[in-house]
Symmetry: C2
Subunit: 351 residues, 2 copies
Amino acid sequence: MTTSSSPARRATIVDVARAAQVSRQTVSNVVNSPERVAPSTLERVQTEIRRLGFQPSRAARNLKQERAGAWGLELSPLGFGRLGAILDTFLVELTARAAVDGSHVVPFTATDPEAPTDSYERLVASRVVDGFVLTDTRRGDPRPAWLDAHDIPYAAFGRLWDDPSITAWVDVDGASGIEAAVHHLAAQGYERIGYLGWPEGSPVGDDRRSGWVRATTELGLANPEWQAVSPQALEPASWAAAGLIDALGRGGALVCASDGLALGAWRVLAERGLTPGADLGLVCFDDTDIAQALDLSSLHQPLAQVADRVLHVLGTRSASRDPAGGLLLPPELVVRSSSNPAGDRTTPKEK
Amino acid sequence: MTTSSSPARRATIVDVARAAQVSRQTVSNVVNSPERVAPSTLERVQTEIRRLGFQPSRAARNLKQERAGAWGLELSPLGFGRLGAILDTFLVELTARAAVDGSHVVPFTATDPEAPTDSYERLVASRVVDGFVLTDTRRGDPRPAWLDAHDIPYAAFGRLWDDPSITAWVDVDGASGIEAAVHHLAAQGYERIGYLGWPEGSPVGDDRRSGWVRATTELGLANPEWQAVSPQALEPASWAAAGLIDALGRGGALVCASDGLALGAWRVLAERGLTPGADLGLVCFDDTDIAQALDLSSLHQPLAQVADRVLHVLGTRSASRDPAGGLLLPPELVVRSSSNPAGDRTTPKEK
DNA sequence: TTGTAAGCGTTATCAT
DNA sequence: ATGATAACGCTTACAA
């Protein structure tokens, strides 16, 4: 900002037109349909565009085209800043992908918890966004129906559990991911494979658990006693994990519904002087920084792909009930030392 | 989206004008300078505004006012999705505060690491943002100088280390925070207070360490041997912490430059059957979900305040060299069981 | 291939 | 207190 009091004036389409000795329409064509411009003119104009650093004003373009070129994303306290949150990574991916076709992501926070759609209403009414990316979808979520009723485009990261006919979503296949984890652990030689999940009732949690049930049944390893539940907090997770670890014993393995729960299990192992992998197999979900830091095998959500497909759904202005919609992507199992029975990870010992 | 193929047409200022039998200028006045409108007209127009759900189009307003009403925020891989990252929380706070005066935050990612200012250039050139919020400032950061040279408003979360005359920043006072932590530990009765920090050379790390040096000197507890360094990764942090814990012994305490480093120390304690707090005091920095999960005392960064002040700096279109600028906010020490010598936290024991 | 005209929705200025 | 006019910068349709 140095000394001048107002920001530098930026070149407009007229400046370029004047400099290149053409009409402003021609400049517009150079930018938007270069193939309709004679090569010589094209180059002359492009040179001036570069020289002047011209970029079309988004405001003017938006006004004319009656679209914002932006998608709203609610930053819910549920999804951000919590243990094992992955939404920050999703935001990064979404932002990067949106930029490819010149769109933007506009984050916003809910203002009134009583009226969850108010912020959505304001943003479309003022044409700041063309539509929304939903996250943290839940049963009884009022947003999809409201958006549908108001004819507002949207796509969700997470299944829309209420209405199977709405297919404007992309999600990660938790069940098949957990299944893969169980098979991986079995292949590594772990014989008793338990599951630490969230209390029944959450769609995501129930889905993940079903993968464990399916895989252990398939392998003839099913045992309902090797299951425990805990909310997403360290203390209860530790207690639940402790019980499971007792039941499974050395040589057993534990699949956790989240990295946060796995932290509880890891803590118990650490306190008992047990090494993840060597003494007890451990695989978790989400592959957050925690899993990476603790070197835990984890199911990595393909967030870049999710972002890509979410934007695709938004881009194709087909109905939210497109029967081809509803995409389930498999997570990728990242194998680390915690599921390696020959675990060779060393830890500092007392002097 | 149901069946119709285009989104619903939103009411414009003309619709309201027609419905309320006034000119569109009067509607504009009702919205922007209600005091200049006769009470009866005011009410009539406001009723129509509500009835039609009218909101001024941002694109039109932006075009007319030649400002975007938005601030750009680069999502750097450095700041997001890493262990102990707090930028996601900062983004939430920034977004919420910006909304108060109708502004938005537009996140973006760098496209070319070789040309770090390219994305900035594009965003201002197309008038998507009026300026920027900088994070992850570092020595030799090319952005402040570039923004200054191009007369683009900005404010940084984090000191601008290169040029003390640039004061468009807000930061958290790491040194005084650590100092407070040391005093707190001393007051709790811990006698030997060590420090686990990052290798010398990072301005943030050096700043934090200086707080430890200052406080321990002041208290007559200085001992250069009670210091160790490690990069922000679990394995090296554990090794460094192990050495320190040996040197400090029971009844000592450890201040860590970050929650990530503290995780390493916590792990060592766990493996040795020691309880944070009761056996060894532990205080860390950032108060991320990890500190909360492990019940570690931690220095909480006042991100809401930082966001508030950053927007204030951007709002007042004073120069970036305003001598009144450069605000250092104290972090708040959140005391948990890890700095309580009478530590009463129970952990699940083996059956 | 290039240029002309109109309009997107708003607000600042000036007149009534 | 209210309204007419012009302008912000761009694109779409149409005319040359």
